[in-house]
Structure formats: C-alpha cells, structure tokens
Amino acid sequence: MSSQRQVWTALATLLLILVVLSPALFIVQMSFRTGRDAFQMPPTLVFRVTLQNYADVLQGKFVRALTNSTVTATAATVLALVLGVPAAYALSRTRFRGAGLVSLWTLSTRMAPAIAFGIPFFLIYKHLGLIDTRLGLVIIYLTFNLSLVIWMMRAFFDALPRSLEEAAYIDGAGIVKAFSTIALPLSAPGLATTAIFTFLLSWNDFFYSLLLTRSEAVTAPVAIVNFMNYESWEWGKVAAAATMIMLPVVALSAIVRKYLVRGLTAGALKG
C-alpha cells in the first residue's frame, strides 16, 4: 500500500471513529460544561471546564445506584457463566433425547419483548417480597442471560476439536477434568466475549429496573432519568452520570479487548 493511500485510509478511519463516537463524545464534553455552556450552538471547542456536575452527582443518591448496577450486573454475569458454561458444554458434547428441545427452550425467555414478561414478574416478585431488592434483579438478569451464555458458549465449544478431550480421556481424565483443563482454557476468548455481552445486557437494563425497583435497589440507568426534573432537566448531571456509566464498560472492554476480537471471530467459524 502506498504511503499516500495509507494516509487517506488513516484519515477515513479517524473520521469514521469520530462519527461513530460523536454521541458519546458530545455527552462527555457536556459533562464538563456549565449550565450556560451546555447547549451552546454550535458547540465551542474552548470552554471553561467545570467538575461541578460530577461533584453534584457524587453527592446524591447516584453513587448508590451505580453500586447497585455494579453488584447486580457482576453477580448476574458470574452466575450466568457458572451455570451456563457447563450447560453449554453438556449440550455441545453429549447426545441425549430432547437435546434440541432443551436448547430451544432455553431461548424461551428471549422469545418475546421484555414488556411481555413485565406484569407476571411484577406480581410474582410482589408476593415473594423481591421488589426493590438486588437479589430480585440478579434473578431476572440471570434468567435472560443464561440463554445467551448457553447459545454463545455452545458455538465456541462446538468449534473446539473433540480429539483434544478424547486424548485427555485416554490419559485418564474425567469429564470434569477435561472440561476444566482443556475445553475451558481453550474457550477463554469465547468466555470473555460472552461475559462482556451478558454484563452489558444487565448493566444497561432499564425496563426491569424501572419496574421492579424503588429506591433501595434502583440501578444507574433508571437513576439517571431522575435527573429529569419536572420543570427543568439537569443536563449537566445527566451528562456526568452518563459518562460515569460508560466508564466501567470502556474499562472492561479495554481489559478483555485481546480476547474479545478473537472470541468474536472464533465463534463465527462454526455455527
């Protein structure tokens, strides 16, 4: 590739990145602006930077909401992986009657929009005393994440050659050992990808948090909406809170980036 072409490709890539990231960048820059500057049109590149919006957000109940989001999304992701990965392995490696049906029915929680399950879940939770609890949210997220984990991880396990585990069986390993020492390490990219997706699904959930929490277990996406004051929205706080919501996801993605790319491509090899 000629150097001129490389420059053009780089410029085009940069432009594309800017376009794709522009909503996020707009929110981030707005979070450092004063109320007067927030809607300056066209936005000025030079402005007086303020951290007041962050200070306001951190003084209120938003920190608790952020903690709730972290706890529920992490717990739901870990539990979904702990339960879903062995299930996916079992479905990938064993043949039994009704295996296809089991796979299909794990998807049942995703066969209709979330709102269709809203009222039944609300009534059940009301009777079980799970409204406004972190446990309640974790159970809900787990219900929906399990199918994703099972289906994604099954594809990864299907892509692994069985001969490696068969060699381990010949050397005396049991199914648990073959799973934990051979299949699981080899599917690490898949695990990372699946973990990211399940975490994001729980982290960004708005509907169930809105429906099933009140003040104790409310998560960040719902708490952010509460900055919409009846008479005037607090845009600075909304932007600061949105930036804080994005940070853990960006950090997590950066940490597992290496695995993420491999995981996305590996899963596509065999379906």
């Binding site: 004063t34 109320g35 007067r36 927030a38 809607f39 300056q40 049109m41 609300f122 009534l123 009301k126 409204i131 406004d132 809105l210 429906l211 009140r214 003040s215 719902v222 909406v225 509460n226 900055f227 919409m228 004051n229 009846y230 008479e231 005037s232 929205w233 845009w235």
Partner: protein
Amino acid sequence: MEGMNRRRFLRSAALTVGVTASGVQLSRASAQSRKPYADARIKMSQVSHAYADALTAKLPTFEQQTGIKVEIDQMSFPVLNQREDLELASGSGAYDVMQMIFIRTGRWIGAGWAEPLNAYIDNPQLTDKAALDVKDFVPGAMAPFRRGETIYALPWLADSTVVGYRADLFDKAGYAKFPETFEALQEAAQKIHTRQTAAFVTQDNLHWIFPNWLLSYGGSFFANPPSDLTPTFDTPEAIKAAELFTAMLSKYSPPGGIKLDASIAEAIMQQGKAACYLDGMGNTQHIIDPKKTTLGDRMAFTDTPRGPKGHFPQLAVHGYFINKASKNKNAAWEFIKWAVSKDTMLSAALNQGHLAGTRASVLDNADVRHKFTWRGSDLATLHLSVMKRAGAGYMAYRTVPQFPPIGDRVIIAMTAIASGQTNVIDGMKSLQKDAEGILEKAGVKLRGKG
C-alpha cells in the same frame, strides 16, 4: 458511723436512681403522648421538583416533632407516571403518600385507590382545621381533587400557562406590549421570525399547549364534561384553533419545533434562539436562571393571549393523597398536613423558588411577590389570577378518566397536521373518530350514537 454512712449513701443512691428512672419513664411517656406516631415509617412517591427539595430540607424538623420517619422517593415524571399507576393497580401499599397527577384523577379516584380525606380533616384529634385552612387553597387548584364535597388530595403544585418573551425583540418589531390575542401573536410572529431566531417555541406535550388556543376559539375536548363526554374535535371552532396553533408550530418555531421536549424548548429560549415561549409558570424561573442564560434581563412574562371566545390559560395541578392500601394512614395524613402547610409552602417559595404554589396566602405574601417580580411582571399575582379563573371549571376536561389516551391522540393529530402529513380538517376528523373509539370502548355513551 462508717456503716451508717454507707447505708445512708446506698439508700440515697437507690432513691436517686429510682427517681431518675421514674423521671425517664415519665418523660418518655410524655414524649410518646406528644409523638403518637413515634417509630412509624412512611414512604412517599414524588416527582423530582424543587418542592421535594424543600420538603427534604425541612424533613428533620418534622421527623423530630412527630417521630415519623419519612422516605421521599423522588423520580422523573415519566417514571412517576408508570410507577404510581402500577403500584395502585396492583394494590401495593409500598407508598403511603403519593402524588396525585391531575390527568389521572378520574381513573385513580374512580377506582377507589385514594383515601377520602374528609374524615381526617374533620377529626379534631387529627387536624387543627384552622391551621390547615383548606379554604386557603385556591379553588382552581382544589377542583380536580374534589368529587362533590369529598376531598381526595391536597394540592402543592398548580402549573399555570404563561408567556415568556424577549422584550427587546418584540420592541424592535414595534410591539411595546406582548400581543393580546392569538391572531395578533401570529402577525407579530411573521415579522419577528428569522432563520436565526424563531418567533415561537413550546414543548411537545401538545395536549397541554393546544387547549390554550382550542378553548379560546370556542372549541372543547368534550361537549360538557363530565356529564356529556361526546368529543368535539371536528367542530368549526376546534378546526380554526388547530389551524392557528399548528401554523405557529410549522411556520414560526425552530427546526424540529413540533417535537421539542420541554427542557430543550427551555434551552432554546435560554440560548436566544426563540423570541417567545408558552409553557408552565414553574419554567419561568429556569428561563431567567443566571446559571443557564445571559439573556434573563431581556426576558419578560405576561398572560397567555386570548381568542374571540375569551381567555383560557391552562392549569395542571398535582396534590398529595393517601394510598388506600397504606397501613400507616394516620401518619401519612400527619405528613400531608405538614407538606402542604402554609409554613412549608412559604419556605418552598422563598428558599427553593417554588412559584407555582397553591395557597392564596403564600402567593399574596409580600416577600413572595417581591421575589417573583421580574421586570415589572408580578408572576405570583399572575399565577393566582390564572388559578382563580380556572376555578370556573373549564379545566374539567382533563379529569375525565379517558383523557390520557385521548390526550395522546391530540398530540399525534397536532403533529400530523403541523408536519403536513394531513390537512387540518382531515386531521381533526380523524382525531374525533379516535376519541369516539376510545370512549365507546370504555363504555361511555356518546350523543347521537347507539
């Protein structure tokens, strides 16, 4: 001697301990009698609002005086709408005190979800009637919460429609005063509107804005609510009002002016991108907030324009009520009395800038009037006059149980007409048909049908 002293010492010590202990018991008993709700816990649902901040600020005093622990759950208006409706429909007693939303009164009171308050108000054990002074609430603010003599909620917010305008721009166009009629406003808009500065901006909750035009031109939502709910959107008066209103949106509003959230519309005024604004009284304080705009000193406020059939500024009222499913009704009432008391409302006005209050005595207060006078416009008096006018009953259409879905159809119709998807006659006929369908489905008997 030494032994005697020890005995005497022990006796006096025992006596002292006894007296102290009984004193503690007595003072506890007396405190208990002063705090009949000691250790009661109540929860309240409330929209995020300056008034909630005022309550939160004063809450420690209330809790200390009554022994009631209060949790105020503040949420945005869309969240409040969804959550309260679901809580009430499911019979959950999760919230003891709830916010009565004006347009939902028909459904919530009709369904028996709100505790009637008369038994609490009339009980001298529970209420000092003179201190509560129900008559101090302006009738227009009380009307949505009354059914005959029964009171279901007490109001804390009454948002009245008002016009905010850039006096410098209108002055430059030859208007020393803001136009007094909607047709004169349209003429002025023609002169003022430019690509840089729109003549008019408002929020997209059009079923709240359009009635300012509709009623002023002799139109209405229903023939005679609540006795005759036959919709009247296809009358010549309603069509004329829709034509003028949608022209303001399509010709004289900023780009995208049909679908601007209240906060964006407010920001457009703050940035000087529009010359006038029609919305609730509560917003006025944000439009001139020096933290958000440098143009506050060019802004003025006035009454909404009138039409050939009169002047009908709108009023949206919110109150507090006791959830019928609450297990702490007396404690909830104690809280409501305090939350809408003269002291609390006055403090909210003076310290939190809560202009859209509901008590005449607070709005008449000299300090309040001074605080809310802006460039010669006495906003407290203006607000009070709108509330008194609305007491005549023209806001009854908003408390019809089927209003919320019909209101949504009004927004759809106005948006379709203003964006040119349909012409005004077809748009209003379609709206009429939709409204009839909603009412018939709800079992409402319409004039000339079946």
